[in-house]
Amino acid sequence: MSLQDRLFKRFGSQLREKAIKRAQTRIVLVGRTAADLSPEELEIVVEEEESKLKEELRDKGVLLLFALLGISWLG
């Protein structure tokens, strides 16, 4: 496995872990436990959290790029 693949895999697993934690919090907040949900339902919740995380990272990346280029929203 190349270094790039390993890095992507590690990043992906860390992202998944974070998404699982967020999903657990979300489930607890509605007064249920992860064991109450079916594997499909859990998968949907974790998938939603993972895509949210990806979006957040993308937004932050764009902001960072703008900041590095010296572009500001306020002009």
Partner: protein, 136 residues
């Protein structure tokens, strides 16, 4: 503003990650400086008094202290790394030991419901599942 933030973040990152190394390096250089200063003072004093009785011994002691300080520095920093490695090994061992137990039939509450999700390459969304059902 962003420049300051980046600098601060970078400094905090390095401080958190290498705090022990930074502090121990500073201590090592502090010891070098202190021993060097004391020794040079002693050499000056012995030259003024023109008595070279313990001059050779003072050099030996100085270098011994330097060597001991370097040895302590290396031990302290390698122990930190070794400790972390040992902790990681212990964690993986306990995980490996815990996994077969849950497979053998521990209660349902002890089984991690997310274990399957962790191993999946790509997760399906609600829409994906609906489409799959309709395909069937």
């Amino acid at each position: 503003m962003f420049n300051k933030m980046f600098r601060f973040t970078a400094i905090m990152y390095f401080w958190k990650r290498y705090r022990q190394l930074i502090l121990s390096t500073l201590c090592l250089f502090g010891v070098f400086w202190l021993v060097g200063t004391i020794h040079s003072d002693y050499v000056e004093l012995s030259q003024l008094e023109q008595s070279n009785d313990y001059l050779a011994q003072s050099f030996v002691i100085k270098w011994l202290i330097y060597l001991v300080a370097v040895a302590v520095y290396l031990i302290v920093n390698s122990r930190g790394k070794l400790g972390k490695r040992a902790e990681k090994k212990a964690e993986t061992k306990t995980k490996e030991k815990a996994a077969p137990k849950s497979e053998k039939g521990a209660s349902a509450s002890q089984v991690d419901p997310f274990s399957e999700i962790r191993n999946k390459d790509k997760l399906r969304s609600a829409a994906d599942m609906v489409i799959e059902k309709h395909k069937k």
